[in-house]
Symmetry: none
Subunit: 238 residues, 2 copies
Amino acid sequence: MKIYTVFVEPKTSGNIGFLARTMKNFGLKKLVLINPCKLENDAYYQAMHARELVQDAMIYDTLEEFIEDKKITSIVGTTGTAGGSYNIKRIPITPDELGKTMHVNGNIALLFGREGDGLNNQEIEQCDILVTIPTSDEYPIMNITHAAAIIFYEIFKNKKSYPIDDMDISSYDDKKVLTNLTNEIISKLDYPEHKEKQVKIIVKRIIGRAFIAGRESQTLRGTLKRINTRIKNKTHEE
Amino acid sequence: MKIYTVFVEPKTSGNIGFLARTMKNFGLKKLVLINPCKLENDAYYQAMHARELVQDAMIYDTLEEFIEDKKITSIVGTTGTAGGSYNIKRIPITPDELGKTMHVNGNIALLFGREGDGLNNQEIEQCDILVTIPTSDEYPIMNITHAAAIIFYEIFKNKKSYPIDDMDISSYDDKKVLTNLTNEIISKLDYPEHKEKQVKIIVKRIIGRAFIAGRESQTLRGTLKRINTRIKNKTHEE
């Protein structure tokens, strides 16, 4: 799969830089500019360590020339609020849904429209897929490069498929072991039956919620075993 | 749930504006600035239709003053790449995971660090939760407002899809009581000193991270007291 990030008629040179930086943050390399404004210094400045993406940007006069030249197989367009001025027949998907469907071969173009105006109706008509970011109704218009960051993030996220390698969150089985251990302890505390049940549920939920790491889980197991061994069982006493 | 977006020592006025705009895009309103640079015109310009967020920004000299003043119950920090310079003992979660756990009441602070340097170790130590955006290894350093957009998006996305339940989150003091109780128990387990310390740290962090509700905290207190009373103290045995 080749992904081209296409900025259609950018008006502000700095935004080209921001876009390049965000692309590189998520492993995207191919920047295409359609009829862009003049590239000033701030394009390179805002790109930071992604300035080579700006230097290597492919520039075309029209979208059609690019689509033909790079043999694009799928065009993904990004739009602002759904139900805006464009043809309502098109139902946009979310970035999340896009990320999950991007496991395809081919040459894919991700289109971002001009600042302020976005993509025009003709450009939107050419898109195979439209993506819209769910935003607050009160102020739905995002800055183009911030919108792009979210879309790149979702594509990257699904490509990597979680979790971050060195973050080994405890598994379902790990959690089960912890819950069994806490249940054993709670059973020794002579709660009335309904209360015992309630305590077990609460502790189970907290274990589920706490994002316990694999190595933390190891230590906790040891601690719970110690507690369990040490705890006096009232019935034995009497 | 009240969410405060806290920009710690911003250096560039325009970034405050970008942050405000992105906040409003995702329905966030409370902007806090800790010891910020001078707010120039570009803060208002980049905010676009969110300039009232910049106007109403709460400004504090130190993070501590803000935390105390607004009675913050949970602090969420954002950091760059996992395994970076900060203390490796802390395991960051993903924005996705953050969004899914944010169904709680309470006063939550979302911390974003200074451009370039991020949050310092002392600030990170204070966080109950750390979030890291999964990025390309080749260039993991994101612009701060683009990183913020992704985190706001994940919070908004999850808020929309699941109704926030009215769980009232336990306070800072509640958590302290729980930590004291667990510490008392752990002290009785005859761990070697360094191991005892480590176990206490792990348990404290899990309590911080788990978004324990007020009523859950009540029950847990009772359970921990029972365990503490019941536990055999080895020295007494011998």
